[in-house]
Amino acid sequence: MTNTRNIETNTNLSSPLGARGSLDVRGLTIDAKNVDFYYSEFHALKNINFEVSKNEVVALIGPSGCGKSTFLRLLNRMNDLIPGTRMTGSVLIDGEDIYAPNIHVDELRKEVGMVFQKPNPFPKSIFENVAYGLRVNGIKDKTFIEERVIESIKSAALWDEVKDKLNKSAFALSGGQQQRLCIARALAISPKVVLMDEPASALDPISTAKIEDLIHELKKDYTIIIVTHNMQQASRVSDKTAYFYLGELIEFDKTTTIFTNPKEHSTQNYVTGRFG
């Protein structure tokens, strides 16, 4: 695995939360307390309490419209971009309230990276796609950028496929390769949490398997929250699974428990495909 953490330390790529001297990487958790979220009058999330330990992979599952993607976007404040939304409660990352007034959203998103459903590479070369986050964060050291780009591409299990064409357009890559490039781009700025919103839903089975293998590798260094509609994918990649329904977190437990003996009848009906 990568030594991106060391590189970060050496070059003082500052942590937005750590800059305030309060981050303890080893103790990182996501801790959402009493979270309610509204799209104008629509009550999308209801009293969510959700805690994730460092290096865990957590799958968010539930039928369309249940609030899982809304909750995912709360974790890096992507919902701030939607007019008319409102949140109550608190979301703590490593003990810091990410909705506190003194938190800079741009800085937060360096800590909490995101990979979307469809691969969205920039119209740039493969190399520049990964280097982009570093450059916009003011890093100019070419050697460092090159090292970080290579490490990130390797971490995203893409290196062997692109090492000879780093200067080619990212659009020349297949869908699966583009998605792994987007993951490399997210990793380049050394986030602590990676959010994935159905990262493999647009990919073929081989590419999906590569993304899932990648998630297993990345959990050594990152905490990963993944939204998926694919039950088998949730059961394959995650340590814990959270089942959402109608804006409520119905059940949150070890993935093995959710898929062998869920406590809630509603969860059982959903995972067995009887509704949803």
């Binding site: 039950m231 088998q232 059961s235 959710i258 898929f259 062998t260 003996n261 869920p262 059982q268 995972v271 067995t272 495909g273 009887r274």
Partner: protein, 221 residues
């Protein structure tokens, strides 16, 4: 009803049919040995192949369901339990076949009515048949409390077997010329005792399927 549910219902139907066949095999084998009815014993022997065919069919259905539908939670527990129940039922049918085989292979064997009564052979046959029937009822109705009685009944079957061993040993000492027949009688008890054990295994699988409890290798209350 989703497609998986339809497959599970069909699987349950096959297991139920196999179960009823196995109950009749045990019952007929027992009746054959009690009444020295060689024709009934042959009937048991002939129907053994049908049990084997059910076993293969149910194994194949389970494999297909796992491969095609990837069942989880209660559905997965059901398929896993069925796989093991299937195997236990087939073994029970093998024992019934073995009991009937004693008569077929040794047509001249006639057991002393007195020792049959004294050893409680009929009670043991009735007991294991009852255990099998209770297992089926628990499985069909998905009620583990019905299955729980099987554990204490298995204990009773074990006790009858132990007692029968002593009685048969005494009988052989007194009637050494009947030792050959007595060995066949004792092998029947041994098979019935094993049937009781398989019924208890099945009850464990019913608990696993319905209540998600693993009772294997743990004290049974």
């Amino acid at each position: 009803m989703i497609h998986l549910e339809q497959e599970l219902v069909a699987l349950k139907q096959d297991v139920t049919e196999m179960w009823k066949l196995v109950i009749s095999q045990v019952s007929n084998a027992g009746e054959a040995i009690l009444t020295f009815d060689k024709e009934l014993a042959k009937k048991v022997s002939l129907r053994e192949k049908k049990v084997d065919a059910y076993e293969l069919k149910i194994d194949r259905l389970c494999e297909n369901i796992i491969a095609l539908y990837q069942p989880v939670a209660v559905d997965l527990r059901f398929v896993l339990a069925v796989l093991k129940i299937n195997s236990n039922l087939e073994r029970i049918a093998d024992f019934a076949y073995g009991i009937s085989g004693v008569l077929i292979a040794n047509p001249s064997v006639i057991l002393d009515a007195e020792i049959i009564t004294e050893t409680n052979l009929r009670l043991m046959i009735d007991q294991v048949t009852k255990m099998l029937t209770q297992g089926l009822e628990a499985f069909e109705n998905e009620k583990s409390d019905i299955a729980s009685a099987i554990f204490s009944e298995d204990y009773q079957v074990d006790e009858i077997n132990k007692s029968a061993a002593r009685i048969v040993a005494d009988y052989i000492q007194k009637n050494p010329d009947r030792a050959f027949e007595c060995l066949h009688l004792f092998s029947t008890f041994r098979r019935l005792e094993r049937i009781g054990d398989h019924c208890a295994n099945i009850a464990e699988e019913i608990f696993f399927f319905i209540d998600a409890k693993v009772l294997k290798h743990s004290p049974r209350d």
